[in-house]
Symmetry: C2
Subunit: 790 residues, 2 copies
């Protein structure tokens, strides 16, 4: 016998196998049984659920890996958590979670007895029960896996800045075909063995998806090994189907990997040299639906795609299926695993780690418990000095970058900044003064002049929005803080991840034992209105339309118009928990409006009349001009000036919106204004011209139930324009000052005649602007350098 075959003593081997049989029994039980959980009676149709849901296929491999990690947790006193990539694999996780007692501690009606096991079985994939993924209700889960592709990036997010943690992550071979997963293997170029923990991926080659083989299971061993070496990993292979042999192989291999991880960490930590090692990973090739029915109705099931979901589908109607189910369930010999009351036998129970060493009870997987609030410098100190609104310009994001720099300085172990190769472009590069970009790949001499790279960096830049979002989610879910900025054009790349995280948060809030985690803060910049030079492709402000579909309990949207508002909003978001805060702010130079105290007041209210821009004090206004977003605000204010210049007796009220949800009724979102407050801003019957950053319909969607909505006229992006100057792009989409003046005139009854020549003038101005731009390639200087005149 080789050493591999001796990793476990015979007794250990038998115990582990028994423990695994218990897992598999529970997994199958969850899928099938609603009564008779210990099979004390012969199995009858009425014991079986009518609707069979959940996926058997991935489950045995998941619990196989889980319990082998358990062994090493005990042996080496490891601090470890477990992420299950394969979709619907929850039975393979819930089973060991239940066996180690955590489930019953948290959900006392799912006790470690026959009745509890019965409840535990019944609630799985059952109306009013729990899902077939590792949802937030699953103790120890930070990765639901409903949508595939994010397991490895989540795992790395959890490992960063957790030097002692080992994040075991099962990666499905189906999931491996997704783009997000395929690039996330490169995360190893961003992990520093001195400061960060380790990720131990177990690629589960169980060979099949719903109806197809998987690519990675059908290429040669040589290609497979080359692929992962190319990704920078050292793959170890555990392949086979005989359980006892596989236990020995897995025990030996996993132990080798853990030892290797510790050796690599030790080497880096003792030498102080953070090189990128070739981290170990495991390729576990085992049959799909392992230990389940070999054949059903003459067709191969175990080790084929037919084992993906429910191997025996007609148990209610087909007595042969029922008999086969019974003999399958009995093949695990539950009577040898559980005592008569349904409790796991003590000699098996002792195989599980204890207390918070249990992966299901590890606090890293309930990160809010470990979360420490950020040490926050006073954001007021980063503000722009504003003597008079609308007269000086500044890059809106740069002071935020300075704030982030000092937040970083104060929180060098639990805060990171994320952005796809764009933090400099987004004018957040002051952060590099405190912390560079982490880089564990090769260095060249030229990096010294402007590379801003370091193994110790805490700024995460990789050209994969998926990976960044995954890292950030993993980092937040384990109790830390982060800030993500991305170009507006490309934020749609992570639409789906946003949806998933919002859904996770919404459900988490209903799970009493989950402590709040830091909000996911997403700055959308290089916005549509400054992507005139990149053309049509780069122009899309539609992410917000997705955001408003998600639960009002977890979504927040801010459109700060200037530096001080952005700082106020940014600081607020960094302190908040359990939200996704979406902030829209362009990076370029823009007019500044509010001094710091005004900005704080304005952002705290979220919406308000800017008195200095209005001339309706003491009167009913003739028109309400409103805006949300930096560039739309500039244009709206310029339109106010033009209106007041041309029609001094017209009363104009200007309303600025920072917190977009203020527009929606209180019943729809906690930030929604009461109708009374709303009406006091927008009147009951006066025309409202609203200039919006995004697609105009979003404003209608939020405000259509308001009393005066029939008088609202909204401008925003409407897929016009391409390569233009900023103003010309605005003109094409009619969010420019001239269009707004025309809109206003059209809506003020007493200007119908008097306004005609002004409208004509505005149209001529638009033509002049266009002609100048087409001739000179830039905007008319006087328009570009406009300031507030009053």
């Amino acid at each position: 016998m080789s050493s591999v075959d001796q990793a476990l003593t015979q007794q250990e081997l038998q115990s582990m196998h028994a423990y695994w049989r218990a897992c598999n029994y529970l997994a199958a039980g969850m899928i099938y049984l609603r009564a008779n959980p210990l099979l004390k009676e012969p199995l009858k149709p009425e014991h079986v659920k009518k609707r069979l849901l959940g996926h058997w296929g991935a489950s045995p491999g998941l619990s196989f890996t889980y319990i082998h990690m358990n062994r090493l947790i005990n042996k080496y006193d490891l601090d470890a958590i477990f992420l299950a990539g394969p979709g619907h694999g929850a039975p393979g996780v819930l089973a060991p979670v239940y066996l180690e007692g955590t489930y019953s501690e948290i959900y006392p009606n799912k006790g470690e007895d026959e009745e509890g096991m019965g409840h535990f079985f019944k609630e799985f994939s059952f109306p009013g029960g729990i899902g077939s993924h590792c949802t937030p209700e699953t103790p120890g889960s930070i990765h639901e896996g409903g949508e595939l592709g994010y397991s490895v990036s989540h795992a790395f997010g959890a490992a960063y800045d957790n030097p002692d943690l080992i994040v075991t992550v099962m990666v499905g071979d189906g999931e491996s075909e997704t783009g997000a997963l395929a690039t996330s293997w490169h995360s190893n170029k961003f992990l520093n063995p001195i400061r960060d923990g380790a990720v131990l991926p177990v690629l589960h080659l169980n060979g099949y998806k719903i109806n197809n083989p998987t690519i990675l299971s059908r290429i040669s061993h040589e290609e497979l090994e080359a692929l992962f070496k190319g990704y920078g990993w050292q793959p170890y292979f555990v392949e086979g189907s005989d359980p006892l042999e596989m236990h020995q192989k897995m025990a030996a291999t996993m132990e080798t990997c853990v030892q290797e991880i510790r050796r690599l960490q030790q080497e880096a930590r003792s030498s102080g040299k953070p090189v990128r090692p070739r981290w170990p990973m495991i390729v576990l090739r085992s049959p799909k639906g392992w230990t389940g029915p070999h054949k059903v109705d003459g067709h191969k099931v175990e080790g084929f795609w037919r084992a993906h979901q429910v191997p025996l589908g007609s148990v209610q109607e087909n007595p042969q299926h029922l008999a086969q189910l019974e003999s399958w369930l009995r093949s695990y010999k539950p009577e040898e695993l559980f005592d008569a009351t349904g409790k796991l036998l003590p000699e098996l129970k002792q195989l599980a780690p204890k207390g918070q060493r249990r992966m299901s009870a590890n606090l890293h997987a309930n990160g809010g418990m470990l979360r420490r609030a950020l040490c926050m410098p006073d954001f007021r100190e980063y503000g722009a000095a504003i003597d008079k609104p609308g007269t000086v310009s500044a890059e809106n994001t740069r002071p935020l970058g300075k704030l982030l720099r000092d937040v970083m300085r104060e929180n060098m172990t639990n805060f990171r900044v994320f952005g796809p190769d764009e933090n400099s472009s987004n004018k957040l590069d002051d952060v590099y003064a405190v912390s560079k970009k982490v880089w564990m790949a090769d260095y060249l001499p030229e990096d010294a002049d402007g590379g801003e790279l370091s193994p110790d960096g805490r700024v995460m830049e990789m050209l994969s929005e998926h990976t960044l979002e995954g890292w950030l989610e993993g980092y937040l879910l384990t109790g830390r803080h982060g800030f993500f900025s991305t170009y507006e054009a490309f934020v749609h790349v992570i639409d789906s991840m946003f949806n998933q995280h919002a859904k996770w948060l919404a459900m988490s809030k209903a799970v009493s034992w989950r402590a709040p985690i830091s909000s996911l803060n997403l700055l959308i910049t290089s916005t549509v209105w400054r992507q005139d030079h990149n053309g049509f492709t780069h122009q899309d402000p539609g992410f917000l339309d997705l955001v408003v579909n998600k639960s009002p309990d977890v979504t927040r949207i801010y459109l700060p118009p200037d530096v001080n508002c952005l700082l106020s909003v940014g600081a607020h978001c960094l302190k908040s928990t359990d939200y996704i805060n979406v902030i829209v702010s362009d990076k370029q130079k823009h007019l500044q409006y509010l001094d710091m105290e005004s900005a704080i007041k304005h952002c705290t209210k979220g919406i308000g009349i800017w008195d200095w821009a209005s001339n309706d004090a003491g009167y009913e206004p003739d028109i309400v001009m409103a805006s949300a977003g930096d560039i739309p605000t500039k244009e709206a204010l310029a339109a106010v000036v033009l209106l007041r210049e041309h029609f001094p007796d017209i009363k104009v009220r200007y309303v600025n919106v920072v917190d977009l949800y203020k527009l929606t009724p209180q019943s729809e979102h906690p930030h929604g204004l009461s109708d009374k407050d709303f009406d006091s801003l927008f009147t009951l019957d006066k025309p409202v011209v609203f200039n919006f950053h995004g697609y105009p319909q979003l404003i209608h969607r939020l405000a259509y139930r308001r009393h005066n909505h029939g008088n609202w006229h909204v401008r925003g992006y409407k897929e016009k324009g391409s390569i233009n100057t900023p103003l010309e792009l605005a003109i094409q989409n009619e969010i420019d000052r001239f269009s707004l003046v025309i809109d206003a005139i059209d809506r003020i009854p007493r200007l119908q005649v008097a306004g005609a020549h002004v409208k004509e003038k505005m149209r001529n101005m638009q033509i002049d602007c266009r002609n100048y731009a087409y001739e000179h390639g830039v905007d008319l200087p006087e328009v570009d350098h406009w300031t507030w005149p009053y």
Copy 2:
């Protein structure tokens, strides 16, 4: 000299180098010059654009590869096209496109003379001009590359079923970090060398993104080679910076690759054995901004990230920069390349391929020119026989699958079906009777029983929505047809690709020389209302909210309520061009309503009163009940029955919407109903209860300008429910029949008193349904098996 160094004779070498210098001169000229295109005068600030845009960094490598492909096109009479993955790399493509004359042929004001060159330079990244990507205005482009990640999947889409075509695709090393790109290398497992053409990827390791090194350029040669061998490719390396040496290496290597491609194809085609070979690819490691300024202001530029965009930024203000720009431009010696009139010298001109062999004039890249209409069987023959509405059930998608099967049979060289491992799950598996799933990876004996795999298959299944969407786009853009189905929960994965393709189509329609291509047909199935068993994560019908943001010229949305409507809509979509048709239809068994003739009539109108479900003939209705989507329709009709049962004297009109854009005003979308027609359906003042498949706000967004909108009450998904039965999920979101009855009663004035007990009864029914579901795990049979009673 080794053979590598002798691929080109000295004369060839000098000519190619001169041609490349011309490309580089043009690329730099596009970025900088607005006058003095041939540098006949000393360079002055006024010759230079005020706003410097476009990316120099990737350009030299792009044209380097382009012209080396040109050489082989001439030598071997190749049929080839060129895709430029690197973002903003258009100067490197536009330059050779202009030099080979296509640009001037298509855009006569950009002639091959000094004036034309001047226009050509000025319009680049200039207001009113063309973008810095390979936009639809670029002859020969089928890949804009504004968003990164899709070059390789587009390339494969183009190569499928084009056995003689070689698709050269430059892949940026920045782009390579995206998820979509990282998994698309596996496309080689789906390409059959007998039937399909070849993809020749050139991975361009120019080392940097905007501000960072790229991962693939900073790993060891050993890892890099292993990675691509692992992906199943044979990488050939061309590395260096000396242009003359690099020309020799590239010429030799590219020729080797082309010969290898032809050999592999020949081998497979003569033997008839379609094995998966290790296809060749090239890794081109050359300096970023190659041949541009080495250093600027003392900082390294060539070969560093500073060369990414505009190497010299202050040309207007800084005389040293201006001088450096001039000497850089003159280093290409334009006077040796162009004659005094600005025409490329004839000895260089002859290096370009001729006519449609020019990659910029290849018809595959203007696929509409090659498109043949599908041979379509009569979809009527696949219909369900319906004697009476709402009494029989059928799986809505299965007959569509039969139609697709026969479309496939009739179009075995230019039609494919796409789906991520879900065509069987989506009940479209009849298609396998004619064509299996293409599979070029390994086979196992068990595949024979239910594997449905074949090297000749025309159904494309890989668990990457990104790759599938990219293949399909590439396939359509080269003049073929396709059909894509995906789970509603996961369609958000390709939000961003949908946006990009919609933008491409919208722009293409404005490009006169681009012929219409087949529509992208996207079936969204396994919809939100039948994801009750998968839980909260899988429930999201919000893709439509994105669709409506895109140009009405290219977007269509259909929600056919039953088999016959789905067939009618599906057949219509398959025949259409230049749209993205989004069809929402669940795959499960549903009630059937319309016989084929009624369905055709109804779908042609897109919206209409169902007389058989209404009892308002000859009267004004008391209420209009309306719906869009299969499950909402079933519930709305059941509500109509309950209303009529309980209140026989109430007049109910039922309106069904198939074509969602009918709701929006005519001014907003060509399908929009006139207000007159709209009012005749929905009345001017009667309450409307609308039951919608998606988020209810979308209906408000479409209809808020309609006269009677104030009386509209819309139900739809509102992020409620998780693991439920279908009916219970409907109840939680209030789209169920009972909720709708309550809604209707609340809105009919004369039922305010009389309706109270019925409302109570409805609420009790909801409780009964829930209790039954929680007890039995399935819906109340009588509700589940409801049929239309009249």
